[in-house]
């Protein structure tokens, strides 16, 4: 019932372009989450993801009239804008070194927040951290397909629409990206295993 009464993204966009602030708020509430997650997983920085989310909606306000429903959905349009912004920011900030304070703080808060046993939670957090680092270490073209298809659980078609390439390209890039991720994570796992063995011997 409520789904039928909810206005579509196109309706919200039209209302927003007519100056309806409530439509902007509704559209933001509906689409900001995906954009923020995509930006966060692509660049690994919460501050950067915040900026990108705001910039994407700024672009929508300024250039919303350029949206063509025949070429794709509004979500794809917004994600495409977000992708362009993220890549631009990543290229601009390539020469800066991350302080990694945010990630440490996030880890600490996650550990204290959960109700699991501290050891399990620490292990889980370490695993997640290693995966995150591996994803962030991927080349951009492979990282974005992993983020879209694996982390955001989009279909190949949706990812292809956002990336502006063929479905086969997405599929092959994802295959290559996953292979790279396994390669990147394997030394860490082996290292952990070696450490455990040496610890036992030492004991």
């Amino acid at each position: 019932m409520s789904a039928n009464t909810d206005p579509s993204d196109s309706d919200l966009l039209q209302s927003m372009m007519a100056g309806d602030e409530a439509a902007l708020a509704a559209l933001y509430q509906r689409r900001a989450r995906d954009i923020f997650r995509f930006a966060l997983q692509m660049c690994g920085s919460r501050a950067l993801a915040d900026d990108v989310t705001q910039e994407v909606f700024m672009v929508l306000i300024r250039e919303g009239h350029k949206f063509d429903a025949a070429r794709g959905s509004i979500n794809a349009f917004l994600m495409g804008v977000a992708r362009n912004h993220v890549l631009r920011r990543l290229r601009r900030e390539r020469f800066y070194v991350s302080m990694e304070e945010d990630s440490e703080n996030d880890t600490a808060t996650h550990v204290s927040r959960t109700s699991e046993s501290p050891l399990d939670e620490l292990s889980r957090t370490e695993t997640i951290e290693s995966v995150r680092k591996a994803v962030l270490a991927l080349p951009e073209r492979y990282r974005e397909v992993v983020v879209l298809c694996d982390l955001q659980e989009m279909s190949y078609v949706e990812a292809a629409e956002i990336l502006g390439c063929a479905v086969g390209t997405v599929r092959s890039r994802l295959h290559r990206a996953r292979a790279l991720l396994i390669e990147k994570m394997r030394p860490a796992q082996e290292e952990e295993a070696v450490d455990v063995k040496s610890a036992r011997c030492f004991a």
Binding site: M16, E21, Y28, A32, T127, R171, R178
Partner: protein, 279 residues
């Protein structure tokens, strides 16, 4: 199914995507046969598990609330949308004003050109105008020229010249096609060229000038004192009556086919420098 086919479908299987049942069965069968492919599938499944954990963690991240900047941007965008109409109105008004100003400028130019043309057609040389003003034959009708007394004309300076010189000048003038040259006035031909200067321009110098009525000498073209220093020669000619109009004098149109007498003063270089009409 061989290893290559297995590898091409391993992602979908590891990510738990929808696969055809027959293909799924073949993949599982190949996994049982090939240990390397089984290990690869295990790695892929492990990776999918870890990625899902990362995705879950990212889902828990708080989305930033909508900032006031977006609302401000939306309002300013709306303000910009209404502005172009006003700007367009202003532009159209300015365009109309520009067209009107241009038309007025063109009209003013046309008026100026017309006025210039009229003035030019009416005016003779400015010196002739001044001469006319000084002697006042302009205001006089043709009949009144006859009533002008010789005493009204400034006293002429005596001009003497040798007979030989006058003949030579007359011949020179004929060669220069000064048409119509009728005959040199005998008395003027005898005036000396040294006596003629620019300051005292010759007027009526003939012995029988008392019987004739003349106007003042009017300069023909540009004549400076230096060109008149060497003296000159006075030649009696007959001209069409329209020549009166050319010098700004009134003409009786009933007698347009008749000729009018005039004395032309030639400087030493043979150029006509001044003219006076004789009746």
């Amino acid at each position: 199914m061989n290893c290559e086919d297995f590898e091409s479908n391993i992602n979908e299987l590891a990510r738990e995507q929808i696969i055809e049942a027959s293909v799924h069965a073949q993949i599982l069968a190949h996994r049982e046969e090939c240990e390397a492919c089984a290990r690869q599938l295990e790695d892929q499944r492990s990776l999918s598990f870890q990625l899902r954990a990362l995705a879950r963690e990212a889902n828990s991240a708080k989305v930033p609330p909508m900032g006031n900047e977006l609302l401000t941007a939306l309002r300013s965008q709306q303000a910009l949308k209404t502005r172009p109409a006003r700007v367009a109105q202003g532009r159209s008004r300015a365009k109309v004003a520009g067209v009107v100003a241009g038309a007025m400028a063109v009209a003013a130019m046309v008026l100026i050109v017309i006025a210039m043309t009229v003035i030019r057609s009416r005016s003779v040389t400015p010196t002739a105008q001044s001469q006319r003003n000084s002697t006042s034959p302009k205001s006089l009708p043709p009949t009144e020229i006859a009533n002008v007394k010789p005493t009204d004309v400034p006293a002429p300076a005596p001009i003497k010249n040798s007979e030989r010189e006058s003949r030579r000048t007359a011949g020179k003038n004929r060669r220069r096609n000064l048409n119509p040259i009728v005959e040199p006035v005998q008395s003027i031909a005898g005036v000396s060229s040294k006596d003629v200067t620019a300051k005292d321009t010759p007027t009526s110098v003939t012995p029988d000038s008392a019987a004739e009525i003349t106007t003042d000498f009017m300069p023909v073209g540009y004549a400076s004192a230096t060109t008149l220093q060497d003296g000159g020669q006075l030649v009696r000619v007959e001209l069409p009556r329209s020549a009166l109009v050319a010098f700004g004098l009134p003409m009786n149109f009933n007698r347009y086919d008749e000729k009018v007498k005039a004395d032309v003063f030639f400087s030493a270089d043979g150029m006509a420098r001044a003219i006076r009409f004789v009746q």
